[in-house]
């Protein structure tokens, strides 16, 4: 894709993020933040691509470097995704539990 189209996509998503979050209640700030954190673990796609491509290389030095960089990046990003979503879920469960208590 041309860099120009990518820039348009970038600008549109930036605007969208602004619109979505403008009115979030302060109660949800922490879960929202850990949820967003999990989403930024999307860098894992880059890490996978880096490892995947390095295998195709003919140069053994590059294969090794690519796998080390890529492998570490996959681990860092996955911890982020899995940890981020689970901890968000854990927090939201607490909020829901209390909601029932109030309606009783």
């Amino acid at each position: 894709m041309s860099p120009f189209i990518l820039l348009i996509i970038f600008a549109a998503s930036t605007g969208l993020g602004y619109v979505i979050i403008k009115n979030v209640p302060s109660l949800l700030h922490t879960p929202l933040m850990s949820g967003m954190n999990a989403l930024s673990g999307i860098t894992i796609l880059g890490a996978i691509a880096a490892v995947g491509l390095s295998v195709l290389s003919k140069n053994s030095n590059e294969i090794l470097l690519g796998q080390i960089f890529g492998g570490l990046a996959i681990i860092a990003a996955t911890v982020n995704v899995v940890g981020g979503f689970l901890v968000t879920h854990r927090m939201l469960k607490m909020f829901n539990k209390n909601k029932k208590g109030r309606n009783r």
Binding site: L28, H29, M33, I48, G52, G66, L72, A76, T78, G84
Partner: protein, 464 residues
């Protein structure tokens, strides 16, 4: 192996799911659904990438993912709610680290070497910027983690000539960038990349070191935003639209959250985000006078006689894990027909919304947990205010003392109540390092000790 058309479709689906996830997370009713959308989107995106064209070495990738998932699950299940700020800070650092690694990986990528002319230059500029932002996010988050865990002092660290040094380093980064592009293809380029990474890492350290403890919620939220921009930069680097979309979504919504925080503290957004650029260190007026201390028995008696009680929690409650005994106390007092409310300052604690999470964990019903703006107009009618481990967010100096570094920040105006009890470990200044005139007011008495111990003792006295 799936075709690139399926991959494009999967990425499109994933980006829609991420948008739904984010908008779900921004409202209470839909928040859980938001997490689910996020998980589904992420799974689709990962599968579409792993089984996409040009990717080999499945075993290696899958083993790495499994190991990391186990770590992720263990961390998420074990972490205490009180340690949430640290966890989020360290997770941000992982995004930064991953982006730096992906940048280097992309730099040595043999496919990239086939690029020609302008395409090559654009790509390498993207690599350069991606690594730069990633390294700042990485070290900045590690320092934030250090400050939150108490491994590094919470006081702002600034030195003479810091601004000048930053400017010089920034110019050096740009000059290096030009050299980097000119030396592409020679081993020099890799060395330049290393030097630039070191400079960016240093930037990240200096930026967060310079920010005072009171601004910590903004820092976390800002790093959150930065981790989004990092992902977006990686997206440009790889020409991956899903990364660009997701990163920009997180980046801009994180920035909005930071601005909301700054408004709550009445601080200009840029003075915080620029890492205390040109900031002087002020500690406020020295205060003359004496402080009164009190005992658990007296506090229990005051609470028993009171009709309305306002509880203002701060980070001290989190540190001593006092939220559970606080809940017991609230239940007892409510059973006696008293009106109990909580007043939460927008930046109480070290993380936006942290107090709400802790109180929810302890089963405090959230219809009595109010925001600062809701409690401030009614404080004159409150009989007893119980300040549990909060300091800067109840500091009258913010309204009265122009020399105070937190002057102008809205605070919970607890001193207007009939009686104020401040639970505190010692007379030390708060996280922001500011004197608090509240302790010297006539209607204030201090109850020294660990918050959890103190509330437990008050509880046993209320029983009798």
């Amino acid at each position: 192996m799936i075709t690139s058309n399926i991959q494009i479709a999967s990425y499109l689906l994933a980006s829609i799911l991420f948008i739904l996830s984010l908008s779900g997370l921004s409202s209470q009713e839909t928040a859980k659904r938001g997490v689910l959308f996020g998980i589904i989107g992420m799974t689709i995106a990962i599968l579409a990438t792993v089984f996409g064209e040009n990717v080999q070495g499945y075993t290696y990738i899958i083993v790495a993912i499994i190991i990391a998932s186990i770590i992720g699950v263990l961390v998420a299940r074990k972490v205490e709610m009180t340690a949430m700020p640290q966890l989020i800070a360290i997770l941000h650092s992982f995004v930064g680290l991953a982006a730096v690694l992906v940048g280097f990986g992309s730099f040595i990528d043999p496919e990239v070497a086939k690029l020609q002319g302008a395409e090559m230059i654009i790509h390498m500029v993207e690599v350069y910027i991606g690594i730069f932002i990633g390294a700042i996010t990485f070290t900045g988050s590690v320092i934030a983690w250090g400050k939150l865990t108490g491994k590094i002092s919470g006081k702002p660290f600034v030195f003479k000539g810091k601004d000048a040094l930053n400017v010089v380093l920034f110019i050096a980064t740009i000059v290096l960038g030009v050299l980097f592009i000119q030396n592409l293809g020679s081993p020099m380029a890799m060395n330049i990349l290393y030097i630039m990474t070191a400079i960016a890492a240093f930037f990240g350290i200096m930026m967060v070191m310079a920010i005072g403890g009171a601004d910590m919620p903004v820092v976390i939220s800002m790093l959150n935003s930065l981790s989004g921009w990092t992902a977006s930069a990686a997206g440009f680097m790889l020409g991956n639209d899903l990364l660009i979309v997701t990163g920009a979504l997180v980046g801009s919504s994180g920035a909005i959250l930071s601005i909301i925080m700054c408004e709550a503290m009445n601080r200009p957004f840029f003075s915080v985000i620029l890492g205390g650029f040109g900031q002087e260190i002020k500690t406020g007026k020295k205060i003359e006078g004496t402080v009164k201390s009190t005992t658990h028995e007296i506090v229990a008696e005051m609470l028993t006689e009171a009709e309305s009680v306002l509880i203002v929690p701060g980070y001290g409650m989190a540190v001593s894990k006092a939220q559970h005994p606080v809940h017991d106390m609230v239940e007892k007092l409510r059973a006696q027909g008293k009106k109990i409310t909580f007043g939460i300052h927008p930046v109480a604690g070290r993380l936006p919304g942290h107090m709400n999470v802790l109180l929810a964990e302890a089963n405090v019903p959230y219809d009595i947990v109010l925001e600062m703006d809701e409690v401030n107009p009614t404080i004159d009618q409150i009989d007893v205010v119980l300040v549990i481990g909060a300091n800067d967010t109840v500091n009258p100096g913010a309204l009265e003392d122009e020399d105070s570094p937190i002057y102008g920040m809205p605070v919970v105006e607890v001193w207007r109540a009939k009686q104020v009890i401040v639970m505190k470990r010692s007379m030390a200044v708060g996280y922001a390092g500011v004197e608090n005139p509240l302790f010297y007011k006539d209607n204030t008495s201090l109850l020294y000790g660990d918050a959890k111990d103190s509330v437990d003792k008050i509880n046993s006295n209320i029983n009798r």
